[in-house]
């Protein structure tokens, strides 16, 4: 069963008891009575499968916090079982909080995988890995490439299987911040975005619905092929230049979620990944040029 087979009312009801959402290798059991959560899920997760198995990887809840603040400054809290990894946030940021919470669950538990901090997209079985410092335009480019036909695996966490070294995806919505929200909207009028949460610690945040292709094929792994460090620069012409492999390795390792935790295995997996990939810097000023150039990218 897929989420969009439920009416909004049914979805709300299921969420009160616990809705089991399957995102690639992980099943989240989500409990929430907040209307913003039901709306967000219904808008962005329509094609995701639901599970009624008795096992879920993460049991999360996001709900209103009581107390006197309820009347003048309503807040939401995120729980994993009964543990709260974050401080409460204003209630209108609840959906963004759920997204961050789900990322937190994966990043702090899924040590079966080597987890790099990078976006991953796929075309013809080949994966494009984009690490990127905040503000480098990684998410914007990820969104544009997905809308151009690349299959989205993840916008934040690259999952590398410890045995076969292939990349596995989650296909969850792409988190867009500040100016990139309107840029993506302007770039593709078909893009479906959730509501914008304003004044978060990351500024304004909105999530972009993953393409149907990305969601339906989420369980197909991809072969690591390109590592690209994007950098947006106003007016710049789109161009790829070779990036030092050793610098790329160090960057990936130091920005990984669990590289050192995996010890020797982390090193072996990261080294094997580097062997299979070519490394590039990518500067761009306009998304149309960027997507056109990536269409020509050869393995």
């Amino acid at each position: 069963m897929r989420l969009n087979e439920l009416s909004l009312d049914d979805l709300r009801q299921r969420l009160r008891a616990g809705l089991q959402l399957v995102t690639g290798p992980f099943t989240f059991r989500i409990v929430s009575s907040l209307p913003g959560i039901a709306q967000g899920l219904s808008k962005l997760y329509g094609e995701f499968p639901l599970s009624d198995e008795p096992f879920a990887d993460f049991h999360v809840r996001i709900d209103a916090l009581g107390g006197p603040r309820h009347f003048y400054h309503p807040q939401a809290q995120f729980w994993v079982d009964e543990y709260t990894p974050f401080k409460p946030l204003p209630r209108d940021q609840a959906f963004a909080m759920l997204e961050w919470g789900m990322n937190w669950c994966v990043a702090s538990h899924a040590h079966y995988y080597l987890m790099l901090h990078a976006a991953v997209l796929e075309r013809d079985g080949h994966a494009l890995i984009m690490p990127g410092d905040p503000g480098a335009g990684k998410s914007t480019l990820t969104a544009a490439l997905m809308l151009d036909g690349w299959r989205l695996l993840s916008d934040e966490i690259a999952l590398i299987d410890r045995n076969d070294g292939l990349l596995y995806g989650l296909a969850r919505p792409v988190s867009l911040k500040n100016a990139s929200i309107d840029i993506v909207r302007g770039h593709d009028p078909q893009a479906i975005l959730g509501s914008t949460a304003r004044d978060t610690h990351k500024g304004s945040v909105a999530h972009l619905k993953p393409t149907t292709n990305s969601v339906l094929r989420v369980n197909e792994p991809a072969q690591p092929t390109w590592i690209v460090f994007p950098r947006w620069k106003s007016g710049a012409e789109a161009r790829l230049t070779p990036h030092s492999r050793s610098a790329a390795f160090l960057h990936l390792a130091s920005h990984a979620f669990n590289y050192s935790l995996l010890g020797q295995l982390g090193f072996q997996r990261a080294a094997a990944l580097m062997d299979r990939c070519s490394c590039w810097d990518f500067e761009y000023g306009r998304l149309e040029e960027a997507t056109a150039l990536f269409r020509e990218l050869a393995p």
Binding site: E53, A56, Y112, L261
Partner: protein, 362 residues
Amino acid sequence: MKPRCHPLLSVLANPTVMAELDQAGWDKLIRQAGRAGLLSRLALLAGDQGLIEKLEGPIQHHLVAAKTLAERQRRAVAWEARKLDQALAKLNIPVVLLKGAAYALADLPAGRGRLFADVDILVPKSSLGKVESALLMHGWHGTQHSAYDERYYRQWMHELPPLTHIRRQTHLDVHHNLLPETARLKTMPELVLEASEPLEGYQALRVPCLEDMVLHSATHLFHEGEWGHGLRDLVDLDQLLRHGMSRPNWWDDVLGRAEALNLTGPLALALRYARRLLDTPVPNDILSRSAIDLNPLAWPWRDALFIGGLLTAHPSCRLAYSGLAEFMLYIRSHALRMPIHLLLPHLLHKAWTDMRGEKGET
């Protein structure tokens, strides 16, 4: 009757039970064990049984991840111990590792998959100054404590204010006693130092003898207020006690040692609850001899308090009164720690700083 917290307690008492769990059972076990800090341990035990490969993908992945975490912890503690040894070797004093780090480096079953956030050491009180300066030279320093916190630790407690390594951000607790200076119960840390055993491959580092590991673990569990880790600490005790059973006269030795160190009270509680919750095979006569100084009429009350406190890790483990038990244990731990004329001003100070939003360490 077994208290709730199924399947965690049954699995801890008998790890082969894991082979019979269905998906719903694993769903619960992974959550309970994760919150209790015991999942890595269970993952290693499942590995021993050749069970991990037979489990379904997601469950298998959780266990492999937990095993990976255990391996990392083992590497990290060995590295930290090496650094400590280098920092303190020149002082020519015994440096005794306590709790998790000791179990892990002594390769005891209790150390398998044991997770811990800091390393604890015990040194002679007369060497505290030297130890502190040597550690400072090697990068361990105190983290922002208020003048009040400093005084609290140095005058009243059995340890220095916690130290953090400036580069590795690891935590170290330096103890000179097993119990606070202000506690009513007095023990003799010099006997623990004396009976400690050298650790192969290290110059200064040592570990307590097995009996003292049991007694320190029991004292820590039943005298400090860390009930969030209560079940994990009870598992330590269970494992240490079972490990000792291969020795002749084990139970008598533990009892005798408890008397020598004046720690029969915590031992009696440890034996009772390890047997009650984890089926530790403590002989009946040992159990009754250990509790000879405790008022037998108070057992129903103690049982409610301690079992409630031990089962707080996960919501599905909690008894109806676990919250109350936790609160009373908190009060109890403070009452044991210092006499009332020190405790009341201390709690008032804490309440005052909490209210003003200042971060207190104590």
